[in-house]
Structure formats: structure tokens, C-alpha cells
């Protein structure tokens, strides 16, 4: 009489525990907010708010246009660590776009989430550093802070003070299609502790950049082709040729 209750109790506890842990990690696939968000977006793209951007020449820009798939990242230009990394990734993305002749369908957009510091004038300094081909790569910010918060929220970007006057933020490549939908988030799985790699970027970090760059390009390219009405051609080169 007692024994079956004990067995049932143990079974219930086991099932509840397994259920809780599997639920918390989505079956062991998503431990972090970023990975869960990336999976959500891949399954269900979200429409982004139509917020106007302002570029280094004080021209108004949009997050997307109807002819290009856009790869978006978020930085602040006085960032000592992660944004420098992102800048490097974007420079390589730009040269890859040119090399693969994708510039007529894919563009790059870097958005500063620190408009108080990153005025158009300061963005111009950043441009001198990054040397973007402005036909391919736009560097901009948002004027309105309510707009900015809305945009950060819809992209899932969290910006927190780092305690020494700067910010810490999650870094990823966000692919936005021609209809202003965020369709994919490609994480950059490397150290935000780039200080640690001050003695030169490690091989692991370079691999991570390569993977992120290839993945973002492959997604952008396939979306661009799919919406062209052509055959979706997934150019999944895990590592781009040097």
C-alpha cells in the first residue's frame, strides 16, 4: 500500500524536475537570453519599428530599403572592446560583399546606441577610422531616445553601464529583409573580454568571426535571392577564402 505511493512520488518528482530543467533550457538548447532570442527570430521574424536614422552627414536614413537586405550591428564609438571587434568584422564583411558581388542586394548598417556622444560630427571621425564604402556601409544613429529604446528592444539589444563610463552590450549581426523584418540574429561567439586577447586576437576568436561573417552573408544572400523570385541559393561557405 505504501510502496506504490513512494514509487509514484518518486516518478512525479523525477518528471517535474526533468520538465522544469528542460523547460528552463528549452530542452538544453537555449541557456542564454541571446540564444533563445536568436531561435525565436529564426522561427518567427519580427517587424521592426520604422524609426528614422541620421548618418554622419546628417542625412536621414532608414533601417532597410526595398532593394537591399541589411546586416545591422549596434555599437558606441568610444567603446574600447567589443565595438572595435565589430568594426573589424564589418570591414571584412564589406570586402566580402564586394568580392562576392553582392553589393547590389546586401548592405551594411552600423547603428550607434549612444546618440548623446555619437553626434553626426563624431560619427564622421568613426568613419575616418572604419573607412566604409558609403554605398555599401552606412554608419548612423537615432536622434530620438524613445525611438532608440524601441529599436533596441525590438532587436533584443541590451545596453548596460559598465561602471567605468562606458557600456556593455550583446553583440551580434542582425539580418533585416527588404520588408523591414528582422529575420535572423547571428551571434558572434567570442570574448567580450577582448582585453584578455590584448596580445593579439586568438585563433579561436578569428574562427568565430569567420563563422559569423559567413553565416550572416549566407543568410542575407539567400533571403535576397529568395525575394528576387530566383532560386534561393544558400551559399554556405563555412570559411571564406582568404
Amino acid at each position: 500500500m505504501t510502496r506504490w505511493r513512494g514509487a509514484v512520488g518518486a516518478a512525479i518528482s523525477l518528471m517535474l524536475s526533468a520538465g522544469l530543467l528542460l523547460g528552463a533550457t528549452r530542452g538544453g538548447t537555449a541557456f542564454t537570453t541571446d540564444s533563445a532570442r536568436a531561435a525565436d527570430i529564426a522561427a518567427h521574424p519580427v517587424l521592426l519599428p520604422a524609426s528614422p536614422l541620421v548618418d554622419a552627414r546628417s542625412h536621414t536614413q532608414a533601417f532597410t530599403n526595398s532593394s537591399h537586405v541589411t546586416i545591422v550591428d549596434f555599437v558606441y564609438t568610444r567603446c574600447p572592446s567589443m565595438c572595435g571587434t565589430l568594426g573589424g568584422v564589418y570591414q571584412r564583411l564589406q570586402s566580402e560583399l564586394v568580392r562576392r558581388q553582392l553589393t547590389d542586394r546586401v548592405r551594411l548598417l552600423t547603428v550607434s546606441f549612444d546618440p548623446a556622444w555619437d553626434t553626426p560630427e563624431r560619427l564622421r571621425y568613426y568613419e575616418m577610422l572604419m573607412r566604409p564604402d558609403t554605398a555599401v556601409w552606412t554608419i548612423a544613429t537615432l536622434r530620438d531616445s524613445a525611438d532608440l529604446q524601441r529599436v533596441l528592444r525590438s532587436f533584443g539589444v541590451r545596453v548596460i553601464p559598465d561602471g567605468i563610463g562606458g557600456f556593455e552590450h550583446n553583440a551580434a549581426l542582425h539580418v533585416v529583409d527588404r520588408t523591414n523584418r528582422l529575420v535572423r540574429i547571428v551571434p558572434i561567439e567570442v570574448s567580450s573580454l577582448d582585453q584578455r586577447a590584448a596580445n593579439g586576437p586568438s585563433a579561436v576568436a578569428n574562427d568565430a568571426y569567420d563563422i559569423a561573417i559567413s553565416a550572416a552573408l549566407a543568410v542575407a544572400d539567400s533571403i535576397a535571392h529568395a525575394t528576387d523570385g530566383g532560386v534561393a541559393r544558400a551559399v554556405v561557405a563555412r570559411r571564406p577564402a582568404p
Binding site: 505504501t2 505511493r5 513512494g6 509514484v8 512520488g9 518518486a10 512525479i12 518528482s13 523525477l14 517535474l16 524536475s17 526533468a18 522544469l20 530543467l21 523547460g23 528552463a24 533550457t25 537555449a30 541557456f31 542564454t32 537570453t33 541571446d34 540564444s35 533563445a36 541590451r158 548596460i160 559598465d162 561602471g163 556593455e168 550583446n170 561567439e189 567570442v190 570574448s191 567580450s192 573580454l193 579561436v204
Partner: protein, 211 residues
């Protein structure tokens, strides 16, 4: 006595709980909830102070263990201890930690579930034989040390709400807590520093015989 009576009857667990420590525990909980913006701003305060505090409140106001009618579903306390540690483990998942900081409803769920985990853990601990206690404490220590090492070892920030330095501090703090858990578990299990049986264990055994 039926299981329901044991829990809500005139002298049931729930009523006893309300009479004895429920109100002060509720006050403490409300205080912790009101200050959540402050305590949850720093990762190690969140994980190493607030979460253990919530579990402790559960332990503190758990009151007397449920009677035999409930206890026979919880043989040797093992199912209860497993469930309690799983609940705590869930709130160590970075994704849920972020969600608790960002969403009040999730945080309320965290508060409730951790207090419950504390109570379930306590009730189960009291009826658990030494072997189960050692296993449960060892498991909890192993879990915390693992999370601590993961936090220290991760090349990236795991929580979008917390910075990398904060993550490092939390890693060290969790490993520190692990040491505390191991030492206190050894003391409480009466191994090997105490040769006399612990009172609560003896009381638990006689209670079971009476029921």
C-alpha cells in the same frame, strides 16, 4: 488524517505556518521584492544573496513536516530534495536570471518557487537518512561549483543584464558558497565531526513512528 487535512486543516501545515512565521516571512518577502531593483542590479548579490535568502525564508517558515500521509509519497525525502534542487537549478540558468530581472511577473514566480523549494527541501531533509542527505548536499555543492566554474570560464557574458566583471565575481562567490555548503552539510549530517546523533534526526524518526 488525509493529505488535505494535513496541509490546510486546523493544525495543518498551512495554518501552523500562517500562525507561526507566515506573517514575518511575508514581510521579509515583500521587503526583498520591493528592493529587487537594487539587489538584482549586481549579479552576485542576486545569485549569492537574494536567491539563498529566498530559499532560507522557505526553510525558516516551513514549520513542522507534513504528516505521514503526505510523507509516504516522499520516501526518505529523496523525491522532495530532487525537486527542490531542480527548482533552484532552474534559476541559475542565465536566460531565466535575465528574465527575472526584466520582468516582474517572472521575478514573482522566482520568489514563490524558491520559497517553496526551501520549504520542500527542509521537510524532506528532516526525514532523510544520512545517506540521502549526503547525496543531496553533495549534489547541490556540485551544481553550484559547476555553475561557478562555468561563469569563470565562459569567454562571453552569459547574462545580457550583467557585465563580465560581475560574472567573474559571481563565479568566485558561487565556489565560495560551495565550500560553505560542504562544511555545513558535514556538520549537519553529523559526519565526521560529530559522533552524537543530531536531535532533529532523532525527533524526525520518533515522529514518523507516532504517525
Amino acid at each position: 488524517m488525509s493529505a488535505v487535512q494535513t496541509i490546510v486543516g486546523a493544525d495543518g501545515v498551512f495554518t501552523v505556518w500562517l500562525r507561526r512565521r507566515g506573517l514575518s516571512a511575508l514581510g521579509l518577502l515583500l521587503l526583498l521584492f520591493a528592493t529587487r531593483a537594487t539587489t538584482e542590479r549586481i549579479m552576485w548579490v542576486h545569485m549569492v544573496i537574494q536567491i539563498p535568502a529566498l530559499v532560507s525564508i522557505g526553510v525558516w517558515c516551513a514549520g513542522q513536516s507534513p504528516g505521514w500521509s503526505v510523507r509516504r509519497w516522499n520516501v526518505a525525502g529523496a523525491p522532495g530534495l530532487l525537486l527542490a534542487s531542480s527548482i533552484v537549478a532552474c534559476w541559475m540558468v542565465p536566460r531565466l536570471l535575465d528574465a527575472a530581472v526584466e520582468r516582474t511577473a517572472v521575478d514573482a514566480l522566482k520568489f514563490g518557487s524558491l520559497v517553496l523549494a526551501g520549504a520542500i527541501g527542509y521537510w524532506s531533509w528532516r526525514i532523510a537518512p544520512t545517506l540521502v542527505r549526503v547525496f543531496a548536499a553533495g549534489n547541490a555543492a556540485w551544481m553550484m561549483a559547476t555553475v561557478g566554474l562555468l561563469l569563470l570560464d565562459a569567454p562571453v557574458r552569459l547574462c545580457v543584464r550583467y557585465g563580465s566583471t560581475d560574472q567573474q565575481h559571481t563565479g568566485y562567490a558561487l565556489i565560495g558558497i560551495t565550500a560553505v555548503v560542504i562544511v555545513s552539510a558535514l556538520l549537519r549530517a553529523g559526519l565526521p565531526l560529530q559522533s552524537v546523533p543530531v536531535d532533529s534526526e532523532a525527533a524526525g524518526r520518533s515522529q514518523r513512528r507516532r504517525a
